[in-house]
Symmetry: C2
Subunit: 224 residues, 2 copies
Amino acid sequence: MKIEAIAVDIDGTITDTKRRLCIDAIKALRDAEKLGIKVTLVTGNILCYAYATSTLIGLSGGVVAENGGVIYVNDEVNVLGDIKKAKKAYNYLKSIYPVEKVQFSELRVSEIAIKRTIPVEIIKDALKDFDVEVYDTKFAIHLTDPKVDKGSSLKILTKKLGIDLEKTIAIGDSENDLEFLDVAGVKVAVANANKELKEIADYVTKKPYGSGVAEAIKKYVTLS
Amino acid sequence: MKIEAIAVDIDGTITDTKRRLCIDAIKALRDAEKLGIKVTLVTGNILCYAYATSTLIGLSGGVVAENGGVIYVNDEVNVLGDIKKAKKAYNYLKSIYPVEKVQFSELRVSEIAIKRTIPVEIIKDALKDFDVEVYDTKFAIHLTDPKVDKGSSLKILTKKLGIDLEKTIAIGDSENDLEFLDVAGVKVAVANANKELKEIADYVTKKPYGSGVAEAIKKYVTLS
């Protein structure tokens, strides 16, 4: 099967734990783009951050940001998630725990991300009756509109680009990556990925972070 | 002289003409940070983009964004430029020419950046009676509050970090970099820089873009 596209998470997948881009990943993704393979970034981060990452690497497949709440493709932004749900949940959470939003929270338009100062299980329990999905990405805890996820939004984006998801490699590391690995033909978890992601993966890389991404691209794409 | 800090422009300096980060620059800047040298990004781009670039490379010296209109240091944002001046100039410009703002213009808080569809000399002439500085960065044309520039804002930022500007290398490529090279002890223009910048530089690199940045760091900082 000829791979048409790569969908890849940012933090913990093409970056290290300090959010620094791995050189191996940059090189491998650029090589893939040279072969005409479109690379889409699929992240919990805000659009502007994801757009910067895509531009700085040199990718052409657009962006899924805010865990599916926002997509950016063909110079167009679409907000798909409803931030009102997150606001309601956050206001309740704030009334019972000293929670704090992450940096640049004012730029987040479809969900709310909070600092990981309280165990995610406590937050999940506190919000079990609210209409939000709670994700722990190891970088932040996200309160997201359950109507969107990285998978459903990647579907919309790839349709706009005419990409066949069956011929797409999806690569991630954490629980908010489950849904977008699920919709892709080839599912890859990097070595540092959490257990649930490794269980559904077609391939778990031997190397962690960006070196794992490079390893997966080498395995599934014949690089010239 | 022991170098304490590096202040470096993004587009056209650590990136190529397509705004892709140069691997050479990433490596050299990371090596400098390992030696305890603080690296500050000084750009005409918006804060969020500059912050992403700083994080993805792994830099600790904060950010001067929007040509000095915004600084970010120690987790704090300061807006120093007055966007009302740019708005007035832009509205006039729009009434006589078909100008268009660049992407994510809604995130720009102190100045306005427009696409390079009209020669900058025509824009400078049209706005000669307005209270704005007009910069052409080769990526966009910026209408900036004349009360701020990359140099005056770098001064404020380095003071907050306790950095001695005399022991700082400044590296840039275009006319909006003149002021911040001017305030630094060591002034470097990359090989692709414009004439004016090369004229005031202590050193013009042999190599262009990020390879030039790596060359300058090697020349002025003893890398282990």
